[in-house]
């Protein structure tokens, strides 16, 4: 018996309009969705070409949910996206060439080659770079919300986490603090059913992670993470609730991690039928079909968007490959911040 509310799928264009997206917005969302998948697919190719050092992770299957939540955020809202949330970076406006530069350890990546993978963020866009340690960014997201509360600003923080990482103490402490102080934060659980090779029933003993929300004094919602519009609606609702002083919400977005944990992992432990079943619910395909059926997206429109995305990606790859590797003379710079560093948009 789930304690959390199970969200309905989204139906008509009208419903979506009510939730705040007009047709133009929807085509933008589609573009971001394509771009998100494209960035990761191209990244994968780069990896196979030996151009990406270290390992390589993607959020395949989670593109819709990550794009949806980011689309629901307000311009001054902030968030701490994780390794399956490329869509958040894309929607907030990180330039794809900088993501490729990041992947390849180049000087123009957001971390200037100091960190790899999706361990990056552009603070100017309201994002905070994740650390590997999961889910250590949740207390940080709660701290952002605390700052908003102290200053009485109508801003919201979003903290992402995986269903596996929900087992860690950081998750509990973050939700506890957010709950007792009714802070404007939305917790988004990317429940892709596997934590590396570990299935959910070894990570938590309830049916849903969102069933826990009540234990922290706020609402839990389970939503189909392949249904972009349903995720958008729930995220929007939760964000506006938080903005209005209604406190935190825990949204659990259920998907399947459609690839291995990282590029080296063939996911032999995931039953084949599971992949087959979830492949039928590809979030991109699902949203595309919805747009054609409900928003009359035409062949021309579709082609134009794909064309634009392809061009962005091609240009981005080229520009990223032109970015130099970091100069070793920079190695020891900036371990400590200087007073001038505080002159960022957030610190004002």
């Amino acid at each position: 018996m789930a304690i959390a509310r199970e969200a309905e799928p989204v139906g008509s264009l009208r419903e979506v309009r009510e939730a705040g997206l007009d047709r133009e917005d929807l085509l933008d969302v589609y573009r971001n969705l394509l771009l998100t998948r494209g960035v990761e697919e191209r990244g994968h190719i780069l990896y196979r070409q030996g151009k990406i050092p270290g390992s390589f992770y993607t959020g395949r299957g989670n593109e819709g949910a990550s794009v949806a939540v980011a689309t629901a955020m307000g311009p001054d809202d902030v968030g701490t996206p994780l390794h399956r949330d490329m869509g958040v970076h894309v929607v907030r406006g990180v330039e794809p060439w900088r993501i490729f530069a990041q992947y390849m350890g180049r000087a123009d990546g957001p971390t200037r080659g100091r960190d790899g993978n999706v361990h990056m963020a552009d603070a100017k866009l309201g994002l905070i770079a994740m650390v590997s340690h999961l889910p250590a960014m949740l207390p940080v997201a709660v701290g952002c919300a605390l700052a908003f509360r102290i200053r009485d600003e109508k801003r919201v923080a979003i903290g992402w986490f995986g269903e596996g990482a929900s087992a860690r103490g950081d998750c509990h402490e973050a939700m506890t603090l957010a709950g007792v102080r009714k802070l404007p934060v939305v917790f988004v659980c990317d429940n892709n059913q596997w934590a590396y090779s570990t299935p959910s029933h070894l990570e938590f003993a309830t049916e849903h992670v969102a069933d826990r929300a009540e234990a922290y004094g706020f609402e839990g919602i389970v939503v189909d993470g392949t249904d972009l519009l349903a995720v958008y609606r729930e995220a929007r609702r939760a964000i506006e609730k938080a903005r209005a002083g209604g406190g935190p919400t825990l949204i659990e977005s259920v998907t399947l991690r459609m690839e291995g944990h990282a590029v080296h992992d063939d996911a032999f432990y995931v039953p084949k039928e599971m992949f087959e079943k979830w492949a039928e619910n590809d979030p991109l395909e699902r949203f595309r079909t919805w747009l054609r059926q409900n928003a009359d997206m035409s062949d021309d429109e579709e082609e134009e968007i794909s064309g634009v995305v392809k061009k962005i990606l091609n240009d981005a790859l080229k520009r990223a490959e032109e970015s130099p590797l970091p100069d070793t003379s920079s190695l020891t710079e900036g371990v400590y911040a200087t007073a001038e560093d505080l002159d960022t948009p957030h610190h004002k």
Partner: protein, 324 residues
């Protein structure tokens, strides 16, 4: 100038900064209604309200992590650990998130964590530790260890103002025992600059925190022997003032490094190793370390006394060096 205890000087520094800068807020267990376990924030909630003096849940990871988030959003959080020992529960947030964010992502994390530390009153293994060495090893963190009321105030203001995560170790055994004149206005004491607590010519003691007073008493003893002892109070363990340390080492050619934390792998090793490496030709004796033995801090008074370096231990070490 008013005469303040070390504890009052900390309160004073914190209050000064909170009055001056609206971005500064305090969060910790029992810091609000109760005024903190040691009453450093007594009366603060009345003055600043309960959103700037926040009684946190018993959750150190949430406290430090939330400070990090708030700092990135432009606040200047000051977290209080009820005892320094409990910072072990926020170790990951400090070393993984706060310490590395500036280097990796360019995001400064200006937080201050106040840590009532040190032994001397039968606090036992979990209310007496001096964990500064562990943090001083982590690139990205700063560690401040004031010894005097004046430094306590000035260094706290510097810590809050500093754009980095700063651990501010306040020694509990100095709280009410040490009193001195403290300027009433706002002032800062720079991080990374040592202070000559006492000038001397024959032997140098490098130390910080409560051990400054132990060293001073020992130096007094040595006066009778005609040995002149210089005491360098590091004030901040990270960054530490290598220039001042090497200068004093070169002047006296004999150095004792003294700390209350346990010996092996303690920060004294870094200081001794650096002196050995950079002032090798100037040394007339091996750099000697005096520190607590490698055990947890014992509770029972005779054990604790044997554990914490005492004046006589230091005096004996100084005599040995003087005679070398």
């Amino acid at each position: 100038m008013a005469e303040l205890t070390y504890l009052q000087a900390i309160s004073d520094g914190l209050r000064t900064e909170m009055r001056r800068d609206k971005r500064v807020f305090v969060i910790g267990e029992d810091v609000g209604v109760y005024g903190g376990a040691f009453k450093v924030t007594l009366g603060f909630q009345e003055e600043f309200g309960h959103w700037r003096v926040i009684d946190a849940p018993l959750a150190e990871t949430a406290i430090v992590g939330a400070c990090t988030g708030a700092a990135i959003m432009g606040m200047r959080p000051v977290a209080e650990m009820q005892f320094a020992d409990f910072i072990s529960c926020a170790w990951d947030q400090l070393v993984t998130v706060a310490a590395k964010q500036r280097y990796r992502a360019g995001t400064p994390v200006p937080i201050t964590v106040r840590l009532p530390s040190g032994g001397g009153f039968s606090g036992g293994p979990f209310h007496s530790q001096n964990p500064e060495s562990s943090f001083a090893h982590v690139p990205g963190l700063k560690c401040v260890c004031p010894a005097t009321p004046e430094d306590a105030k000035g260094l706290l203001i510097s810590a809050i103002e500093d754009p980095n995560p700063v651990l501010y170790f306040e020694h509990k055994h100095l709280y009410r025992r040490i009193k001195a004149e403290v300027p009433e206005e706002r002032y800062t004491v720079p991080l990374g600059k040592a202070r000559i607590h006492r000038e001397g010519d024959d032997v140098t003691v490098i130390t910080w925190g409560a051990m400054v007073y132990t060293a001073a008493e020992a130096a007094q003893q040595l006066e009778g022997d005609g040995v002149s002892v210089e005491i360098v109070d590091l004030r901040t363990v990270m960054p530490w003032d290598k220039v001042a340390v090497l200068e004093s080492a070169r002047k006296t050619s004999k150095v004792l490094v003294l700390h209350e934390d346990t010996r092996t792998g303690g920060f004294g090793a870094e200081i001794a190793a650096t002196i050995g490496e950079e002032a090798f030709e100037d040394l007339d004796a091996p750099v000697k370390r005096i520190a607590a033995p490698d055990t947890p801090v014992p509770f029972s008074p005779p054990l604790e006394k044997a554990f914490i370096p005492q004046v006589d231990d230091v005096a004996a070490g100084l005599r040995e060096l003087a005679a070398y």
